[in-house]
């Protein structure tokens, strides 16, 4: 079969690779119908998380059709249209039993890297480097999905592939970001990053009761899309002092909750950003925490900072004093896909969330490298390239 493979830092190519096989009773094989690029792939492609091997197949946000099932699979049959959570969860450990699927104890077969880096190993993730288990990804014609009964979900009729594909990752990540905020109704929520996850977080915050959502980015087309599609207020940080603007918009209080949906390659203007770039280039810090710093400084006293942008290692100048003395709640994590996907599919079918507009660039598998380039450089209004193998 054909698959989009990582060939070294910044290099991708489509190669012929063997087809996946059923390896365990609970496995299913899915023919991929739609597989989205994701901002967190860029950290892998660009070598910021040094756990890729040449030939690894990328992609973790996808949907498709079941073509084969292991003998232990009960919930799915050949021909079912399914969406699959990016996080691999066994369904049998304490973390899975308590719906903290991205912390699954058993799904990362190569836990040593993350145990050394983070103290414990979280769950494996499909197509997400050898730190996350070394699973083959979804930018391919077929993919093996372990624990198919736990990780794959039947898709309601009538919802297009290019909408439902985002129920794999962007929607549950955005929902979890808003869920972390503990919204009870009437809050002001600020969201850093107007990409797919940020826009889903904004919509989720509205559905969970936020009265106002303010989105921060520097790309006018993304901010315009968010304002039009989600109904958010916007701040362009390239033109405006974000902290000043947020204070102004909230009459001095600061947002009740701040969602960070940017991650370790965060961008800013000014000398601090140059300093972060230099440290990251010299490998003396792995991540650039610009937007996390801003979120902590902007958040109202006693508010919540929710981090769903992906960070891998060490950051510099983390404003712990601000977080401590303002009594902030910091919540963060990879999303618990399996907890949220069924509810999100219901909301998709009911039309409460429609992420289809994120798929600005539907492309073939062979155009995958170009799709990532458009996405990384934010060219041609690209919010997401969605591969159709």
């Amino acid at each position: 079969m054909r698959a989009l493979c990582w060939e070294g830092v910044g290099k991708l190519a489509v190669r012929d690779v063997p087809e996946p096989r059923i390896r365990a009773e609970g496995d299913i094989i899915v023919r991929v119908r739609a597989s989205s690029v994701c901002g967190s792939d860029l950290h892998l492609i660009n070598g910021y998380l040094p756990a890729m091997r040449e030939g690894d197949i990328l992609g973790h946000e996808f949907m498709g059709e079941v073509v084969e099932t292991g003998p232990g699979v009960r919930r799915h049959k050949v021909g079912d249209r399914v969406v699959v959570g990016s996080v691999v969860a066994c369904g049998g450990c304490w973390y899975c039993r308590t719906e903290q699927y991205s912390l699954c104890d058993n799904s990362n077969p190569q836990p040593v890297f993350t145990e050394k880096l983070w103290g414990h190993s979280p769950a494996g993730i499909l197509g997400y480097s050898h730190a996350a288990g070394g699973y083959s990804g979804s930018h391919a014609e077929y993919i093996r999905v372990p624990f198919g009964d736990v990780g794959a979900f039947g898709v309601p009729d009538g919802v297009p592939d290019d909408s439902v594909v985002f129920a794999s990752d962007a929607m549950p990540t955005g929902w979890m970001a808003a869920d972390f905020c503990g919204l009870t109704g009437g809050e002001v929520v600020a969201v850093w990053g107007a990409g797919g996850v940020g826009q889903m977080a904004a919509r989720s915050a509205q559905l969970l009761g936020a009265e106002r959502v303010i989105m921060i980015d520097r790309f006018p087309d993304r901010l315009a899309t968010a304002a039009e599609r989600v109904g958010v207020e916007t701040i362009n940080y390239a033109e405006t002092d974000v902290l000043e603007a947020l204070r102004e918009l909230t009459a001095g209080r600061g947002p009740d909750a701040c969602i960070e949906a940017v991650g370790m390659e965060s961008h800013d203007v000014g000398p601090t950003y140059a300093y972060d770039r230099a440290k990251q280039a010299a490998r003396s810090q792995t991540d650039r925490p610009t937007s996390v710093r801003q979120a902590i400084m902007a958040c109202r006293k006693g508010g919540t900072v929710s981090i769903v942008g992906v960070y891998a290692g060490l950051v510099d100048k983390f404003p712990l004093g601000a977080a401590m003395n303002k009594a902030l709640v910091l919540r963060m994590g990879q999303m618990h896909a399996q907890r949220y996907i069924p509810m999100l599919l219901d909301r998709l079918a009911a039309g409460e969330i429609d992420p289809g507009y994120l798929a600005t660039h539907p492309i073939s598998l062979e155009e995958g490298a170009k799709g990532y380039e458009l996405f990384e450089k934010k060219q041609d209004g690209c919010l997401r390239s969605v591969l159709h193998p």
């Binding site: 091997r53 030939g55 049998g92 450990c93 190569q110 040593v112 050898h130 070394g134």
Partner: protein, 212 residues
Amino acid sequence: MTNNGTRWAVLGVTAVTAVGVGRAVARRRHRHQPERQDGWYVVRRGVTVDRSRDGVIGFWTDRERLDRALAGWATLEQLDDRRWRCVARDRAGGDTEWRAEITVDGPGTLRWRVEDGPAPQEGRIELVDAPQGRGTEIRAELRYRSGPVRRVFGLIGGDDPDLALRDALRRVKSLIECGQVMDTRDDPSGRSPRQEKATDKVREKLMTGGRA
């Protein structure tokens, strides 16, 4: 170098740094050494399994399920009331075989002693209820004999009993909780056979931990 004062200052700083680093390395090495008792190396490791004690014991007594779970990793054969023969499979060839005597000391406690294996070893397993309904703690104590030279060569070759114990406990937990031990070595990739072989070596280090 401008004068003797500067030279002595640099030498002094270098010497102090060297001593400090040496002491730190020695302390760290000491902390990572296994305990020694009567000529045995002793390591203690534990893992929490999200099942009741009866559930954990039941896993080992249901032979059909156990054999299915162990398929591809190891085979167990009961020779008599207390003696077992175990063969651990190695994908690269060279399976390891040993016979062990297993004695049940009481509910949730057993001891084993390897009769003819790769290294003299014995151990003890205790099952304890984990707090807050978190299941069962499997606490293992492994005692093995090894000389300093043999141990160093074992560590270099990745053949460390401590690592093997940690790996075994992780596997046991996974088998009990989800019926399989995950393995992505045969997942498709765009690698050549030579690249795949090199990647498999990296995978093995990430599965079992390299040096402790």
